[in-house]
């Protein structure tokens, strides 16, 4: 199809760049939307999952006699029965395809359980209360096996093995980076080494997961309503695990109450609930309770990192050994996150000699689960910490050492040691803006004065580079997506897209793009996402991709439809198509602004009078397009490196904290983030995502931690023991924007939504260390809970004595 007549550049006057209110906001505000649990078809049965109470055990038998006799119980299914009725769940990203190890993932454990909480049986009853009561009556007879709960311990030769058939507990190991690190460190004036620990945390969206499966025995079709991010992947996974043709499966994504990676696909309950519905021929619903939701790990890593630098602070080489604790394996993509910790190093710093060794290790804990940041967060905590440690060693200001090592704006695109190709950015610009917003020099003076008064104020800076919109060859981590734009006879527009929204608002951004590209009012557009029977093939939400490829493909499709409207309008108005503009639903002649026709009239004319008006124009007001952004390159270079990301957002955090050395309490005093995701389609949506990510990062820096007992049972299983940030814990979080458009996307936008976690962790850790610098402390662990801060102070006191 032909190119559009005109497309106005993005800017404050266009619809792109406006702070358009969230589409469908009124439905959310009045409680009319339906989240998963709000779907209550008549006759729905309720499932409860019976879970292992052993970290590692052989299942000797499951006795469900008593449970089956209880009121309302329709079905009890155990792992052996399920294994006869369903196959393994395919991996979202198969570790074996990347050179790692795999095990078959089943919806219910068959012979062995490998973590406390692993599904071993399911109970279906008329009500949820009846199912819960019966689940409590299911008896699991098992023989305990030795277990290991710590990844470093799991690497020891004599450690218990999580999977008997493996020679050790390593899921995946790989080396990243090029350059002669030995020579670089030998040439360095200073070398610093630290071991840094990031605790296990979780995503904890307000709405837990849930599925409602409805098997229709008459036409043998399965409809699954799901709180999910990736409906097409889920359809494929269920097709594989249930042995059903994909054409007989429909996934409908309900309104999702937050996700942050949790609701990516591969969870055992997806297959399980569908199987239960198949067995019973009735709708079966399962909604995760909060304790179950807390099992999903987001990150847990140990980094031993060394950097060497010249006397004037230029980093010459970096070595990092990463041990990541993936828990038990799952089909969900979480196990792959630590890969991104490795490849995102050395971040936006020009360090060409890097040696990064990654080991992803299985333990007898619940699985690592995809989480906002997807491992990139850890790279920033670690890199920004070690840069501060180096600055302190050299007696340099933390701002200055960063400036000296940044990749310059004139060096873009820049190939990093690990093979990433940073598309664009102005990192010194981010630093300048953050320092200005903090009033850095005055702040340092204030810090000195506070110290004189015995108060411990600290300032922490952290840079963050966020590779986004990943493409993993041979996986369902796709770097493209697909959108259909369809105009009806009345001129109203339906946008059907393969990307989904977990609540962040990309449906609004996509509507804005279509409104501008097509030239119609935003109110005439309806965006439909997440329904595999309606939407084109797509990949859903992850890796900050929804606006880059969902928005990009919507733009291409909208341009096609606009071109058709213009061609038909030119016939109707007897003018040259090149003379026509389309704006707010009106086609107008540029040379004679009085010559106009409404888009709706063009649509009805083409679709009802095609033979009369435009016999040679195919009467279709619809286009389906995929957008493949530039910069992705899967041809390995001479070092075997590929380049899976089109865009690299960047930001620079500045945190100010006050620490009470008597109690260990850290109080946030001020916070600035300068953020650059290229062109902003809707600045308010960008700010909302970024602020949410910062606060998630602040929580993981200060209070959030999954804690297990020695037997592998989760202790922090509610919001009273797993502490999310609340409104009262925060200062005003200030945001400054910088815009360096990406050359590789339709509108110059880059992925947004993930940046914030790692930067916030690092900025706070750096600020706490800065606050306590009179005590000579080194911060090596997050979260910095009061007991941890006191431990750090004690450690420093011991060292100094």
């Amino acid at each position: 199809m032909s190119a559009p007549t005109t497309v106005r550049p993005a800017g404050p006057d266009g619809i792109i760049g406006r702070r358009s209110r969230k589409v469908g906001g009124d439905e959310l505000l009045t409680g009319r939307v339906r989240y998963l649990d709000d779907h209550r078809p008549t006759g729905t049965l309720h499932a409860v999952v019976v879970r292992s109470d052993q970290a590692h055990a052989r299942i000797d038998g499951i006795d469900a006699t008593a449970a089956r006799a209880m009121p309302g119980v329709q079905l009890v299914l155990d792992g052996r029965q399920a294994a006869e009725l369903s196959g393994p769940i395919p991996y979202f990203i198969d570790p074996a395809a990347r050179g790692g190890r795999r095990v078959d993932i089943r919806c219910l454990a068959v012979d062995t359980t490998v973590f406390v909480g692993q599904p071993v049986a399911a109970v279906v009853a008329t009500t949820r209360a009846e199912a819960e009561a019966a689940a409590a009556a299911v008896r699991i007879r098992s023989t305990p096996l030795p277990h290991v709960l710590d990844a470093v311990e799991a690497l020891r030769p004599d450690a218990p093995r999580v999977y008997d058939e493996w020679p050790d507990n390593v899921v995946f190991a790989k080396k990243y980076g090029i350059g002669d690190v030995d020579a670089a460190l030998a040439a360095a004036d200073v070398v610093v080494t630290e071991e840094l620990h990031i605790a296990r945390t979780t995503t904890a969206p307000m709405e837990p997961r849930g599925y409602l499966a409805s098997w229709d025995p008459a036409d043998e079709t399965l409809t699954v309503h799901a709180a999910c991010q990736n409906p097409h992947q889920m359809r494929w996974m269920l097709s594989a695990s249930l042995g059903l043709d994909e054409t007989r499966i429909r996934i409908v994504t309900t309104t999702v109450g937050g996700s942050f990676g949790l609701k990516m696909q591969g969870h055992p309950e997806e297959t399980l609930i569908a199987l239960l519905s198949q067995q019973l021929g009735r709708p079966v619903k399962w909604v995760e309770d909060r304790r179950e939701c807390f099992m999903a790990g987001a990150r847990e890593q140990v980094h031993r990192i060394t950097v060497g630098a010249t006397r004037d602070g230029r980093i010459l080489g970096l070595r990092n050994a990463i041990v990541a604790d993936t828990g038990a394996l799952s089909a969900q993509p979480g196990w792959a996150m630590p890969n991104m910790s490795a490849t995102t190093l050395p971040s936006g710093y020009a360090v060409q000699a890097c040696d990064i060794q990654l080991q992803v290790v299985a333990t007898n804990k619940p699985s690592l689960n995809a989480a906002r940041g997807f491992g990139k967060d850890a790279a920033h905590f670690v890199m920004e910490r070690i840069v501060d440690v180096l600055a302190r060693r050299l007696g340099m200001d933390p701002a200055e050492i960063r400036r000296r090592n940044f990749v310059g704006p004139d060096e873009m695109p820049y190939r990093t040691s690990t093979g990433l190709n940073i598309d664009s950015g102005d990192f010194p610009g981010l630093l300048d803006k953050t320092l200005a917003a903090l009033d850095y020099d005055a702040l340092r003076e204030r810090q000195r004065q506070a110290r004189d008064q015995g108060r411990h104020l600290g300032i922490g800076l952290a840079f963050e580079l966020t590779p986004e919109s990943s493409d993993g060859p041979g996986t369902f981590v796709s770097g493209f997506d697909t959108t259909t734009v369809r105009m009806s006879v009345t001129g109203s527009v339906t946008v059907l897209t393969g990307v989904t929204t977990p609540g962040g608002g990309n449906d609004t951004g996509i509507a804005q793009i279509v409104a501008q590209e097509l030239g119609v009012p935003i109110g005439t557009i309806r965006v439909i996402q997440g329904d595999t029977d309606q939407c084109p093939n797509g990949f859903g939400n992850f890796s900050g991709r929804s606006m880059v490829v969902g928005g990009g493909s919507a733009a291409l499709a909208a341009r096609d439809v606009r071109a058709k409207i213009v061609a038909v309008a030119a016939r109707m108005l007897s003018v040259d198509p090149d003379d026509l503009d389309v704006d707010e639903g009106i086609v107008t002649s540029r040379t004679d602004p009085a010559t106009t026709v409404p888009v709706a009239e063009v649509a009805i004319t083409l679709l009802t009078r095609a033979f009369a008006i435009a016999k040679d124009i195919e009467p279709v007001l619809e286009s389906t397009r995929a957008f493949m952004p530039g910069n992705i390159d899967h041809t390995p270079d001479e070092h075997g490196r590929i380049q899976p990301y089109p865009t690299y957002s960047s930001c620079l955090h500045g945190a100010v904290v006050e620490v009470d050395p008597d109690t260990g309490k850290v109080t946030l005093v001020d916070y600035v983030m300068t953020h650059d995701c290229g062109t902003m389609i809707n600045p308010s949506l960008v700010e909302g995502q970024a602020t949410g990510a910062i606060v998630m990062g602040l929580g993981t820096a200060l209070s959030e931690q999954l804690v297990f007992d020695d037997d592998g049972a989760l202790l922090s299983d509610r919001f009273k023991s797993y502490l999310l940030m609340r409104a009262g814990d925060l200062p005003e979080l200030r945001m400054v924007h910088q815009v360096t458009p990406s050359p590789f996307t339709v509108h110059g936008n880059k992925g947004a939504g993930e940046a914030g976690i790692g930067g916030a962790q690092a900025a706070v850790a750096n600020a706490v260390e800065d606050a306590l610098s009179p005590f000579g402390v080194t911060v090596r662990r997050i979260p910095l809970t009061p007991p941890e801060v006191l431990r750090v102070l004690d450690e420093a006191a011991v060292v100094s004595s």
Binding site: D26, L29, Y35, R290, M696, L724, E732, L733
Partner: protein
């Protein structure tokens, strides 16, 4: 047991176990799914409703103990024709929600705050919101929205309710 509740201005009778959680009765027996379940431990606030003029977490209230009460849920905030009230409109304009799951708590707590007499400080706002978790927004736009709700309500109420924070509408 027959329990009488007045919900969003309408008298309702439900045949419920008096020990049934109020959130279950509202959602499952009365079909008012605008009230959400986030934790069932009283920590997140997604199940917040108003009972006789005071907000409460309906996961921590038994249906029997709410008998005879007047209850407002999120569905009851907008006008009868669905017209958004000032708090809802300002929340929308300020991007004070993303996924919307926390809105029962955030909206109803704000409505309660606005009924308070005298000055409402930023600390009052923070304290009012502190029982409600939001994982999407980072709270900043919510705090801004509530501040604006307070200021506009005071400006609209005339001199009696004017505070030093108020700005002319």
């Amino acid at each position: 047991m027959d329990v009488e509740l007045t919900v969003n201005g309408r008298r309702r009778h439900v045949d419920a176990d008096p020990c049934r959680l109020l959130v279950r009765t509202l959602r499952e027996d009365l079909g008012l799914t605008g009230t959400n379940v986030g934790c069932l431990t009283g920590d997140c606030g997604a199940c917040t409703v108003e009972i006789d003029g005071q907000t409460a977490k309906s996961c921590s209230v038994l249906t029997g103990s709410a008998a005879g009460s007047e209850i407002t849920t999120l569905e009851g905030v907008a006008g009868p024709d669905g017209e958004l009230d000032a708090v809802q409109r300002i929340f929308w304009e300020e991007f004070a929600f993303q996924c919307g799951y926390c809105l029962p708590g955030m909206i109803l707590v704000t409505e309660e705050l606005l009924r308070r007499e005298g000055e409402i400080t930023d600390a009052d706002i923070t304290l009012a919101l502190n029982g409600n978790l939001c994982r999407c927004t980072g709270y900043m736009p919510i705090l801004r929205a509530v501040r604006r709700c307070v200021d506009e309500a005071r400006a609209g109420a005339g001199s009696a309710g004017v505070t030093e924070h108020q700005e002319p509408a």
